[in-house]
Every structure is written in structure tokens, then in C-alpha cells.
């Protein structure tokens, strides 16, 4: 990257001199990298640096930014208005993540185990499970809003009525809103996990199961002693990706609940969106972005280390 910068800074240097100094291949390589590099510089590296700087300012559009030091962070972590709101956003994010990821993984693994059989029609079932994942979160949010409709005509309420239970207000009930989003999230995200688990399961050597069966191991013992340890890299990958995605969920909150009721579905990303594009407080939103970035950074580093260990494993 430094080389590319030098090229731009010294346009006066005679072409043949740098051509000779770096060799033809280096120049050609950077020409091939140029398009992607410009995009990444403008929309990945610059924004991160910019966010860090902006998080130390008070920047309420359309006014100019004012340097305020740690004020935004102090507001989020210590202010009597800021901290409760921020704490609620963290709690909601953790709630959504812990509520959806482990359950999603358990169901996905179970279904993947069921699909990992040589019986007719497996493909058909796999297609069915995968269908929610490819359809857009927005379209499916609209469908689930209708399923969760608080009147007697919503599907869930009509079932409750039929079996003689009182109806619920689902997305409009402060206590039920988040579980409702979690249920929909699990349904929507399952397919992806199933495919990855299936790939992991198919990498387990069949001979191990045959040997275990000869030794008289039952289904549960085979799972505990062979399947579970051998797919552990897959399981960890699904876990990290799942957490990263769940922590950044936005569309369903925006379409279905707008962060409500009583802020019970306002996650960190939703709060960021609200501060930046409804309150136009760019500095405070940047502080939130930095907070989110640090957490995601740690999670991704874990994942990278994992991907590294997987190489040796195979």
C-alpha cells in the first residue's frame, strides 16, 4: 500500500526509474489491485479512522463538528439520561444474541443430523429449511407482522383462541416483543447454519462410525464420542458468525417494532441508526459505532484464530 502512495506522490519521477526499481511485476500487481484498493480505502479504512475521530466531537448536522474530547463516551457510560438508554441497548443486543444464537444452533444441528442420511427426498427437505434464509428480512418481517397481528385474526392469536388461551399483543407487548423477534430470527437464519453443519457432518469419515458400531456403540455414544468432537471447528465457526450477525441485526427491528415498545427492542445498531439519522447526532453515533467495532473486532480475531487452527486440523 505504501508503494501505491509513493507512486501518486511523485508523478514527476521518470517512469523508467521506478519501473526498474520495483520491477515490472510489482507495478502490474498494484495496477490489478487498484480498483479494489480504492474502494476499500474509501469505504472501509477511511470510515474506521474517521469514526474514531468523529466520536470525540459534538457534531449535530447541519452544524459543524466541535471537538469535545471524551464527552460522547462519558454521556453513554455515565450520564443519567445516556447510560440507562445505552445500558438498555446493550442488554437488548445481548438478549437478542443469546436468545437466538444457541437455540438456532441446537435446532440447526439437530436438523442437519436428520438430513445427513442417505434416504430419498433429503434434497426436498433441505430446500424447505433453506427457503427462509434466502428471502429478504424485510419481506419476511412483513409476513411475521401479520403472523403476530395483535387482533384475533393474526395466526398465532387465532391458534391461542382456538385452544382457549387469552390472545397476546406480541410485538406490542414490552415483554414479548424481543422473544417474538428472536423466534422469527431463528426461523429466518436456520437454513444457513444447517448447510454449514451438513458440510461439517459430511467430512466425518464414515469408517469411524462403522468401527464404533462393531464395538457396540449406540447412536448417542456415536454422537458424543465421534460426531461432536469432530465437528467442533464447524460448531465454533457457526457460533462466531452467528454472534457477529445477531449483534448487528437491524432490518427486523426497523420494520417490525421501530425499537419499541418502551425501547425494549432498541439494540446498539438501532440506537446508532436513531442517533445518526433521526437525531442527526453524528458524534454520538460514531462513539456507538466505535464501541460496536471493538466488540466485533475481538469476535472476528477469535474467528481468525479458529480458521487458522482448522487448517492444521484437516
Amino acid at each position: 500500500m505504501t508503494n501505491g502512495v509513493i507512486v501518486e506522490q511523485n508523478p514527476g519521477v521518470h517512469r523508467s526509474s521506478w519501473w526498474r526499481r520495483w520491477g515490472e511485476e510489482t507495478v502490474v500487481a498494484y495496477l490489478f489491485l487498484a480498483p479494489s484498493m480504492i474502494i476499500l480505502l474509501a469505504f472501509a479504512f477511511f470510515p474506521v479512522v474517521f469514526s474514531i475521530a468523529a466520536s470525540f466531537t459534538r457534531w449535530n448536522l447541519p452544524y459543524r463538528p466541535v471537538w469535545t474530547g471524551l464527552t460522547n463516551y462519558l454521556y453513554l457510560f455515565t450520564n443519567e439520561v445516556g447510560w440507562p438508554a445505552f445500558r438498555q441497548a446493550i442488554t437488548n443486543t445481548v438478549y437478542f444474541t443469546l436468545g437466538s444464537v444457541p437455540l438456532n444452533m441446537a435446532i440447526s444441528l439437530l436438523l442437519a443430523l436428520l438430513l445427513n442420511q442417505k434416504l430419498k427426498g433429503v434434497g426436498l427437505f433441505r430446500t424447505a429449511y433453506f427457503l427462509p434464509t434466502i428471502t429478504s428480512t424485510v419481506a419476511m418481517s412483513v409476513v411475521w407482522m401479520w403472523l403476530y397481528h395483535p387482533s384475533n385474526y393474526g395466526l398465532f392469536n387465532s391458534v391461542l383462541l382456538k385452544i382457549g388461551l387469552p390472545t397476546e399483543r406480541w410485538l406490542r407487548d414490552p415483554l414479548l416483543a424481543m422473544p417474538s423477534l428472536i423466534l422469527m430470527g431463528i426461523w429466518h437464519g436456520m437454513g444457513y447454519n444447517i448447510i454449514i453443519f451438513l458440510a461439517g457432518l459430511q467430512n466425518v469419515p464414515v469408517q469411524l462410525y462403522e468401527a464404533a458400531r462393531i464395538d457396540g456403540a449406540g447412536t448417542w455414544a456415536q454422537f458424543r464420542k465421534i460426531t461432536w468432537p469432530l465437528i467442533s471447528p464447524t460448531t465454533f465457526y457457526v457460533l462466531v458468525i452467528g454472534v457477529i450477525n445477531a449483534m448487528q441485526a437491524f432490518a427486523q427491528m426497523h420494520v417490525m417494532t421501530q425499537g419499541g415498545p418502551l425501547g425494549r427492542t432498541t439494540t446498539i445498531v438501532y440506537m446508532l441508526y436513531h442517533e445518526a439519522f433521526e437525531s442527526f447526532a453524528m458524534g454520538r453515533a460514531s462513539a456507538l459505532a466505535c464501541f460496536l467495532f471493538v466488540i466485533l473486532l475481538v469476535l472476528t480475531l477469535i474467528q481468525f484464530r479458529l480458521a487458522g487452527s482448522q487448517v492444521h486440523y484437516e
Binding site: 505504501t2 500487481a29 412483513v142 464447524t234 437491524f250 426497523h254
Partner: protein, 292 residues
């Protein structure tokens, strides 16, 4: 599966074939029940999309509409500029996909086959951007668009997504498996690097290119947060944004129309999925597993 007893000596329920048959029946039952549960929202969506406004609000709800009201689809399509939204989505997603294949294959070729100064550092920097999401860069990217005067433009919807470090990584892996002799022979015959990439490397790496292109298209088609903040003009909305505004502006009662619109928005990706299912599933399976 047949359940006829075949051996006379052991009791029926102990026969291998009977037990296998029972297991298969149980297996099918379990999968069918869960598949039905997963499909239920889709069935409900399609069912409601064909109901008249009165039938939508009747208790108990009917799964099969009394009269199939196809008019809902026409009304939904005309209720908002869905034709325009559709064209916007197709154009933006295709442009992003094409752009990603171009920029990513170029970068992947450089990383896979060229020796240059700073290669390891640049490659590490590229990989590090996989952890930078739209959510994290939302505010600065938005401000950049404002400064460039790109708000409410196709450029704003397309340009930030014209590359993907993840796709670069996957393509690099594929390019590295190609024998070096292939390139040496081609170069000796006077084939330039660009021509080698386009005419030999890309066709030989079709599965990876296809699955990465598919991810780019689907991901962009379904994206929501960025188009939401970057477009204010109605005629630049993508399908996802259009659907959201359609539902929130109609006051939340026209569920027949809403479900019809949701079907219309979902249908293109579902059709694509059925056509290219194999490469899609393989793409996820390999990217999910092969860390190298």
C-alpha cells in the same frame, strides 16, 4: 419401505427390515413436521395474498381463500411504484455483482500469482476489512456520500459495494490451485495477463466465481440499511425499501395487498435459488468450512 416379514424364525418387530422401515418412517415424520412448520409462514403469506379485505379479517382464519383474488397482486404492484423499485433492485444488484467479479478477480489474480513488494502486508490489510461492516461504517460512509454529492443516486447504491475482501480471498484460493505451467505456456504464446485472467483463469474457476457472484447478488438484493439512509427520493428506492414504505404508509390494514407485495419481492430470489441451488449450497458449504 416394505414391512412384510421375511424371516420366520425371529419375531416381526426384531427383524432388521422392519426396524429399518420404522426408523425411516420416524425420520420422514420428523422431517415432514419440521419442514411444514418452517413453510407455514410462506403458506400463510400466499394464502392471505389471495384473500379479499373482508376475508382477511375473519375468525377462524381459512387456509384456502374462498375466492382467489389475484387482483391483490395487481393492486399491490400499482399501489406503489413497484415496477420502478424492481428495475432499481435489478440494476443495482447486477452492477454490484459484475463489479465485484471484476475487481475481486483482478485482486485475487495479483495475490495468487504475482510476487510484489508489500504483498503480505496488503493481503493482511485486505483480510482485516472483512470485520468492517456496513453498520460500523454507516455514519462516515453517509457523510462521504453527502460531500461527494452522491445522495439519492445509483452511484451511492453501487460504488461502496464494488469489492468484497471475502470474495477476493475465495477466488485467490481457487486461482492458486491452477497449475503454474498453464500460465507460463500461455505467456510464452504471447498471452497478456489480462487476457489470461479473462480467457483462461475465470472460465477454469467457474464454480467459485458463480457462488461468489450469487452471494453478491443475493446480499445486495436483500440489503436494507444502506439504501434506507442513502435514498430519499421515491424513484430511487429498491424493492426492500419500497415494500417497507408501502406497508407503513398504508396504515397497516391491507394485509392482502401487503402479502401480495411480500410475495412479489421474495419471488425473484426464490426463482434464482431454485435454478442455481447446487452452486449456492456448495458455495456456503465450502466457504463455511475450508478455512484455507
Amino acid at each position: 419401505m416394505t414391512t412384510k416379514p421375511t424371516t420366520g424364525s425371529v419375531p416381526l418387530w426384531q427383524s432388521q427390515r422392519v426396524r429399518k422401515g420404522l426408523v425411516a418412517v420416524l425420520w420422514y415424520a420428523l422431517l415432514s413436521v419440521t419442514a411444514l412448520a418452517v413453510m407455514l409462514p410462506f403458506i400463510w403469506m400466499i394464502s392471505t395474498s389471495l384473500k379479499g379485505p373482508k376475508e382477511v379479517f375473519t375468525y377462524p382464519p381459512s387456509w384456502i381463500p374462498s375466492a382467489w383474488r389475484w387482483q391483490n397482486y395487481i393492486d399491490a404492484w400499482e399501489g406503489a411504484k413497484f415496477g420502478r423499485y424492481f428495475l432499481n433492485s435489478v440494476f443495482v444488484a447486477l452492477a454490484v455483482t459484475l463489479g465485484q467479479v471484476i475487481t475481486c478477480s483482478m485482486a485475487a489474480y495479483a495475490f495468487a500469482r504475482m510476487n510484489f513488494r508489500g504483498k503480505n502486508l496488503v493481503f493482511a490489510l485486505y483480510l482485516s476489512t472483512t470485520m468492517i461492516s456496513t453498520q460500523v461504517t454507516l455514519v462516515p460512509s453517509y457523510l462521504v456520500m453527502k460531500w461527494l454529492g452522491w445522495m439519492d443516486s445509483y452511484k451511492a447504491l453501487i460504488v461502496p459495494f464494488l469489492t468484497s475482501p471475502f470474495a477476493i480471498f475465495m477466488m485467490r484460493q481457487a486461482f492458486m490451485t491452477m497449475p503454474r505451467e498453464l500460465e507460463e505456456a500461455a505467456r510464452l504464446d504471447g498471452c497478456g495477463r489480462v487476457r489470461f485472467l479473462v480467457q483462461i483463469l475465470l472460465p477454469l474457476s467457474k464454480p467459485v466465481i458463480a457462488s461468489q457472484a450469487l452471494f453478491a447478488f443475493m446480499g445486495n438484493w436483500n440489503s436494507y440499511l444502506w439504501p434506507l439512509i442513502i435514498t430519499t427520493r421515491q424513484d430511487l428506492r429498491t424493492l426492500q425499501i419500497g415494500l417497507r414504505y408501502f406497508v407503513s404508509q398504508e396504515g397497516g390494514t391491507q394485509w392482502g395487498l401487503f402479502m401480495a407485495a411480500a410475495v412479489l419481492v421474495s419471488l425473484p430470489v426464490i426463482v434464482i435459488y431454485f435454478v442455481v441451488q447446487k452452486s449456492f449450497v456448495e458455495g456456503i458449504a465450502t466457504t463455511g468450512l475450508k478455512g484455507t
